[in-house]
Symmetry: C2
Subunit: 439 residues, 2 copies
């Protein structure tokens, strides 16, 4: 069988990992793919940096190793797409600029299989790209786009095929998990923990997408498409980040035998899918509560196989590279059969606010007698049963206390809070914090 030829577009952290593995493991990879896999060419603006960092022969780079202008790089990419001998393009440039979106479509239209780690691209433009891939009968590999080294895409598409996934909960952003783990273990505040994460290279200078849940939302959007066939963008999800989590929250969580994690959650009930990204208090009996640092984890609840948990590294040059190479091997081996379009069921995304969950609600109130009664009476009026009332924290002029509810909807709680605000306008000093509890 003739060699399977691959071009790597963008050879930084991730693309460089791909090239390194393909070169180091060419024998092993060939045996698994059933054919030799060759790097036909690499396009990168700064080849000498890339070559040195990843130990790649500069001869692989278009231009022979000299720096490229963006215009030159674009010309080389056009040449690659026109080269009929090239079977597959790895897009590891990143971003969602119009050029990148166009590149994804162009590669497929030029009959190249496409493999990418670009979660934002697939979350925001997934529908159109999947359609182009289907029209062109080319495979789309994106194992690396969701939790990098955790083979969650192949687990869903190739492994749990004798089953039906009913719900999922996962820790899908390493940066925010690192920060939360530090806050818990070292009793640090959020700003402190973020700073340390930045200093140690776990968080970028602009950490917004990691800490505001945006990155996790991209990954969940991709999973919702392939598990439940939902055709949505990540803007359609209810997403909350970790920026407002405090030491008090961890104290209340600890009293409830919980940790706090940024959880990607989705659950199907009949024809509806409830989904969200937000901090949750996770019971310590749940393994997700034990996932610390930059590690990722995904828990699936299946109709037949019950609960399955996959844990691994969610980032890193070689970790992500390994996932991309597994896509290349898969496509090289299975060819047209590797083309798998996400199922389109008739499921509908519903507001997470309507899903029944136990909640931890923390109130910051004026330090006046009777306040617990005011709050708990309002809660009762909206037919929320209280499981526990946690100890008050008394500060100079305010009190903070938490209520754990029996399963109810976020909307019921919001209504109760509205009632308190209306009837006792000065009693609440801040918006109550409403955190779901994951058993």
């Amino acid at each position: 069988m003739k060699p399977f030829k691959v071009a790597i577009l963008g050879c930084g952290t991730v693309g460089g990992g791909v090239a390194k593995i393909l070169l180091e493991e060419c024998k092993r990879v060939a045996e698994r793919a059933g054919r030799t896999i060759e790097i036909a060419s690499i396009v990168d603006l700064f080849p000498s940096q890339s070559a040195q960092r990843h130990g790649i022969d500069p001869a692989y780079y278009c231009g022979g190793g000299k720096e490229l202008t963006p215009r030159e790089a674009a010309r080389y990419i056009r040449d690659i797409l026109s080269d009929e001998s090239i079977d597959l393009v790895v897009e590891t440039i990143g971003g969602t600029s119009p050029e990148i979106v166009a590149l994804a479509h162009d590669a497929l239209r030029h009959k190249k299989h496409l493999v990418t780690a670009n979660k934002a691209l697939l979350a925001e433009h997934g529908k159109a790209i999947f359609i182009t891939a289907a029209e062109q009968k080319r495979a789309l590999g994106y194992e690396a786009a969701v939790c990098a080294a955790i083979p969650i895409i192949k687990a869903i598409n190739e492994c749990f095929t004798g089953d039906e996934i009913l719900s999922l909960s996962g820790i899908m952003n390493g940066t925010s998990n690192y920060i939360l783990s530090q806050m818990e273990a070292e009793q640090r505040g959020y700003p402190d923990a973020l700073k340390e994460a930045q200093e140690r290279g776990y968080a970028e200078a602009d950490p917004s997408l990691d800490v505001n849940g945006g990155d996790a939302g991209h990954k969940l959007t991709i999973l919702l498409r392939i598990i439940f066939g939902l055709d949505i963008g990540s803007d359609d999800l209810q997403i909350q980040g970790i920026e407002s989590i405090t030491g008090d929250d961890f104290e209340f969580a600890n009293e409830m035998d919980c940790s706090i994690k940024l959880i990607c959650y989705a659950k199907r009930e009949k024809e509806s899918v409830f989904a969200t990204v937000r901090p949750m208090m996770v019971k310590r009996g749940n393994l997700l509560s034990r996932i610390n640092g930059a590690t990722n984890a995904v828990q699936l609840r299946n109709k037949y196989a019950q609960q399955s948990t996959l844990i691994g590294q969610g980032a890193g040059s070689l970790e992500t590279g390994s996932a991309i190479v597994s896509d290349i091997v898969f496509i090289a081996r299975y060819g047209d059969k590797a083309i798998r379009n996400p199922a389109l069921y008739a499921y509908q995304l519903k507001s997470f606010d309507e899903l029944v969950f136990p909640y931890n609600v923390t109130f910051e109130t004026a330090n006046v007698p009777g306040i617990t009664g005011i709050v708990t009476t309002a809660i009762g009026k909206y037919e929320i049963n209280i499981d526990t009332v946690s100890h008050n924290r008394y500060h100079a002029s305010n009190a903070v206390f938490s209520i754990v509810t029996m399963p109810c909807t976020h909307r019921q709680i919001a209504n109760a809070v509205e009632e308190i605000k209306n009837r006792h306008p000065s009693s609440l000093l801040a918006e109550p914090k409403i955190i779901p509890i994951l058993a």
Copy 2:
């Protein structure tokens, strides 16, 4: 594309789960396989029991639902093998009788793909069956044979293909894990915990294969073949069961911040593979220490992707059935490409005794002064560094104490023990218990 036709031989706990899922999920399964999957026929000696238990129409059973004699069943099976319209045979009869071994080969020689959950069959006769499958160009599916619902076989064969597995450690027997979990949580002795496991259906009346490590050994043997290409039988492995684990062991483990688990372990170093099944003290920082009850877990250490952990249900009718259906879908979809022979590397199985590990060694000695000195002097003579000496337990006439070593080989410890026995013949009241510590 014409329907893919499946015959199920043996429709008890596992075969019944397969039939039930194929019937309930026929639409979903067809979508994933890219073609309809049909149950062509089922052979079982007691169809009415099977049909009732799993909710299957008796018309699917050979003989139309009436009880079969073994001779009649054998005739129906011959008819199925001769039926050219049948694509795949599910062997869920179990056992390793000559008839079952012959059936596996016969099915392949009649050009049927073969799917089985029979770990003993593959551990004891795997080489010959893999050869027959390769000769006949038919696929062999055995996802369900190792940890049932954990997709460990596909993880190795299809997911971590851009990587190299360097070592694995796993909890692969639910019965023994249930017993150990009970011993730890309820401070019960082994006989007590076993009895409870039997009463609750977690252990069979004859639990030997589960508690003596034999079943876990079968699974590890299969994994060693596909990960490292080792052509061995489970008799070649060093296997120890859990029968001799006591409450004292759990106490010492707890002092070391460990739990005790029956661990399947394998590690490659250069051209050697060290492998064993035996109880290990597992540090609580390792997630394996948190896997309780009948759940299974496998941890892989990869060259690039670092550590990956897969956790799920290792037994059960529908859990195992789900894994078998995933094999059927895979083979129906990928056809000849699904034929994947285990790689044959040049690696060699080496004695686990030569692998460097930290160990917990528990001595039961006469309650005489100076005994700690005698033991620790001998340990030092064999160049074993001691990490910790745990508190003595003083009983009426004996003392029990543990030493934790820095990494050393089992052989070094065995030599030190020999030395103690020779020089102070009456000092040891029992064979010291040597348990590796898994970080």
